[in-house]
């Protein structure tokens, strides 16, 4: 991977000095060009009041440092997209504090595609996970799906989009780390089929604030954000709020009144977010049509149980059996048929809901 002189200066500044974001921006503003900043770092750093302890060596040493870092990226099969790179997403530049460098692993070309973000909190109801997965799979035919790497909503989005590979997962830590650690295999699959991104250098662990910072990238990359689930206070709402700030579209799943894991979603809808019950609700906003869904083949008892289930959305197995006039174990067999056919989902505690 060849980097221009200016890009090399960006990499040096971000990866080889101990400056923070504010200092980097100040330095870049002060210098006529990034390359000049790297060459005359002593002067510019001193002028900005940044001490010698934050960087090291003379120009030659800095060049060497940068070469070493680029070689390291190559070893890690990673690449760096600087703000100056041609494929740095335009939409991300509109963010108030755009990342100066994005590190990536996987399919770099996804950066150039249209992107749509799907997020949800870690505790997401089974029906929302299932619907989220279906929506993600449908959306991934037209967009690259952008999401995080957590359980629940993020995982639903990942599972939906991963088969097509049109998936960008933005991490709250360095690319060599994995948070949550349990998703190490998921991370490996994304790296193979899709794209992993992070603005944090290798080795940097996730901190409390990294999630907030990561969420601005999620929203910044995307044309719109779908929130699968969000309690009254949820990280997914931060992403949605960022999206509103950047003038992106916000979508949300509707929830029953009083369901804790959906209060945030209902709030978003109240404030004007698009209500989503299927991928077509999102695609129509962008003037696209969803692909025709294949009707499922159901027999009489399956049809009857599904209709009963539709009446109230979620129901206990015993109740369903009573209403359908079936024995418990007969109803349980029918429901597991519906589940395998993808129209019902088990939502814990022997309850089922439509999906």
């Amino acid at each position: 991977m060849a980097y221009s002189k200016d890009e090399r200066a960006y990499l040096w500044l971000c990866a080889c000095t101990r400056t923070d974001y504010r200092e980097r921006v100040a330095l870049l503003r002060a210098a006529p060009s990034p390359a000049a900043l790297m060459e005359g770092a002593e002067d510019f750093f001193a002028a900005a009041g940044i001490g010698r302890e934050k960087y090291s060596g003379n120009f030659a040493a800095r060049e060497k440092e940068t070469d070493k870092f680029i070689a390291y990226l190559g070893e890690q099969e990673a690449f760096a997209v600087t703000l100056l790179a041609e494929d740095y997403p335009e939409s991300l530049k509109a963010v108030s504090l755009p990342p100066l460098v994005l590190y990536g692993k996987g399919r770099r070309e996804l950066l150039g595609e249209r992107k749509f973000c799907i997020v949800g909190s870690r505790i997401t109801a089974p029906w929302a996970e299932k619907l989220g997965k279906a929506v993600s799979s449908e959306i991934s035919k037209k967009f690259a799906v952008v999401t995080g790497l957590a359980e629940g909503g993020d995982l639903a989005a990942i599972e939906g989009a991963l088969p097509s590979g049109d998936l960008i997962s933005v991490l709250p830590c360095g690319l060599d780390l994995c948070y949550p650690a349990a998703h190490i295999s998921v991370k490996a699959r994304i790296q193979r089929a899709g794209l992993l991104l992070s603005e944090l250098p290798f080795g940097e662990a996730a901190k409390k604030y990294s999630f907030h910072a990561r969420n601005r990238i999620l929203a910044g990359l995307s044309e719109g954000v779908l929130v699968l689930s969000a309690a009254a206070r949820s990280g997914a709402l931060i992403t949605a709020n960022c999206a509103l700030d950047y003038g992106r579209d916000v979508f949300a799943f509707p929830y029953n009144v009083g369901v804790a894991s959906g209060e945030g979603c209902n709030d978003l809808i109240k404030k004007g977010a698009f209500l989503v019950t299927g991928a077509e609700d999102i695609l129509s906003v962008y003037g696209m049509a969803a692909s025709e869904s294949v009707p499922v083949d159901l027999n009489d008892s399956e049809q009857r149980v599904l209709e009963i289930l539709r009446e109230s959305g979620e129901m206990h197995l015993a109740e369903i059996a009573k209403r359908a006039n079936l024995l418990i174990h007969e109803a349980s067999a029918v429901l597991s048929a519906l589940e395998i056919k993808g129209v019902a989902v088990k939502s814990g505690g022997n309850k089922y809901s439509v999906s």
Partner: protein, 507 residues
């Protein structure tokens, strides 16, 4: 004069004949024991001396040598006391005219001459009968246990003097009458499915589990009756046959946990606490190898309450016995195989706080905590549990409702019918239940219709099942079909079987 008396040592569940040879010579009084006796056997000298004295008999003041043959096996415990005493009496010519040939003497002596019961009597009697011995003198305290051995003369004696009187013919002990085996002869346990309110899914799962000999895991919030449901399991299991009862009694006798009835008449229900060690579960011991909880549960139920709380290594040790139905314990002293064909019933909370999936309370656990909790049960172990069922939160109305619930008796009839079908199916193959089927039997008896195969294929793909899980689903479907009196496995049976694997999420 030399006397030879037969007694028995226990080696695992098998009795090994031991000859006690005593030689009383003229010379400086001494007492030597040879032939690998352990401390408890050597100490028998003092017990025998006092018991003889207190029974009005003489302890010979001569040069005494006692030999235990064969010399190469280790003799342990106090069950040789009676044989040592009788051989001493015989050698010192105090049993004039008594015929002790081919009689097996078993029992521990008290200082006053009483006979104390010994552990493992029944397995010894069964082995000895197999070796051709038919006359036994045993402690009266073991009489209940010995009554079930037919075809042998068994004389229960309370004291050493009774034994001596019997041998020289002054007063004869009445031989034991052989007792008939009656299942549930003891007090029936108070558990009954009639008292379990609600829980239709769990009841059904238990019924299938018992009908086909499958393992079952119940997951549900605390206090919803998981333990109560499990306790009902023995009440719906088929009655013990005499052979089964004897085998179970043998194990319980060796472990010294046999009740007063002398024979096990009800299927065992073992609930080891989660602090149980691997050795206590699987069996082991320093010198004498004891059967563990899984062997004590042989023929019955091993109930593990709060499954994730058990030590991981202990749970993993269950994997091989779950497949083979027996456990082989190897120690420096030897290798012992104990039967361990039990039905595993486990319960767990859905998450550390217990409220995940509850309709009334909210769960306060993070996804990582729940994952960690569930991960304590390894995939391979979960694979071996065919039926996983969620237990409901009970409403107060359910608890107080008078609605008649099905009793264990009714469920048991259905189970018996399904077991009868299985008995016919596996006639002569040594297999009793669907759960024991191997690949060959599955191919032969569990042919799926094309539709059924399609269902399984899509379930297989969507739930990421292992090959073993597939075989297990098929076996459960077979049992469900049996409960339905259906010759072929229909799609609805497969669907129901799939619905009992709640831990593999349908993706």
């Amino acid at each position: 004069m030399i006397a030879k008396i037969i007694c028995y040592a226990l080696n695992g569940l098998e009795g090994v004949p031991v000859e006690v040879e005593t030689d009383v010579n003229k010379g400086v009084p001494s007492y030597d024991m040879v032939g690998l006796p352990d401390t408890a056997v050597k100490e028998s000298k003092e017990r025998v001396r006092s018991a003889l004295k207190n029974s009005g008999l003489l302890f010979p003041m001569n040069r005494i040598t006692i030999n235990f043959a064969p010399a190469d096996i280790k003799k342990e415990g106090a069950s040789f006391d009676l044989a040592v005493a009788i051989s001493l009496l015989k050698a010192s010519e105090q049993l004039f005219g008594a015929n002790v040939k081919d009689t097996v003497f078993l029992g521990e002596l008290a200082l006053n001459g009483d006979l104390r019961p010994i552990a493992g009597l029944l397995p010894i009697l069964i082995s000895a009968k197999g070796h051709g011995f038919t006359r036994f003198i045993i402690p009266a305290g073991n009489a209940q246990e010995a009554r079930f051995l037919g075809g042998a003369e068994i004389y229960p004696a309370a004291t050493l003097s009774e034994v001596v009187d019997h041998l020289i013919g002054t007063s004869v002990i009445e031989p034991l009458e052989t007792a008939m085996f009656v299942p549930h002869a003891g007090t029936r346990s108070s558990a009954d499915l009639r008292f379990v309110k609600g829980q239709p899914m769990a009841r059904r799962a238990l019924e299938i589990a018992v009908a086909g000999g499958h393992n079952v895991l119940m997951s549900g919030p605390p206090g919803t009756g998981k333990t109560m449901l499990a306790r009902c399991l023995p009440t719906i299991m088929p009655d013990l046959t005499f052979e089964e009862a004897l085998e179970i009694t043998k194990i319980h006798s060796v472990a010294g946990v046999l009740g007063e009835e002398g024979i096990v008449t009800e299927r065992p229900f073992r609930t080891p606490h989660h602090t149980a060690t691997t050795v206590s579960m699987c069996g082991g011991g320093n010198k004498i190898v004891h059967p563990g909880e899984i062997s004590l549960a042989h023929g019955g139920v091993l109930f593990l309450d709060e499954l994730p709380e058990y030590k991981r290594s202990t749970l993993e040790a269950l994997r091989q016995p779950l497949e083979d139905g027996k456990i082989t314990v190897s120690r420096a002293g030897g290798t012992f195989t104990f039967p361990a064909n039990f039905m595993l019933c486990a319960s767990m909370n859905p998450c550390p706080c217990g409220n995940y999936g509850s309709s009334k309370r909210t769960c306060s656990c993070t996804p990582a905590e729940i994952r960690r909790y569930r991960k304590k049960i390894s995939g391979p172990l979960l694979d071996r549990i065919d039926l996983q069922v969620e237990v409901d939160d009970i409403e107060y109305d359910d608890l107080t409702s008078d609605e008649e619930q099905e009793s264990s008796e009714v469920v048991k009839q259905r189970v018996d019918a399904a077991r009868a079908i299985q008995r016919n199916r596996f006639e002569g193959s040594g297999i009793l239940t669907n759960a024991e089927m191997g690949e060959k039997e599955i191919a032969e008896y569990c042919k799926l219709t094309r539709e059924g195969d399609e269902i399984l294929r899509s379930a297989f793909d969507r739930m990421h099942l292992s090959a073993r899980a597939r075989a297990r689903i098929v076996k459960v479907a077979r049992t469900i079909a049996d409960l339905d009196y259906s010759e072929e496995i229909q799609p609805k049976h497969v669907f129901e079987a799939v619905s009992y694997r709640i831990f593999e999420k349908i993706g």
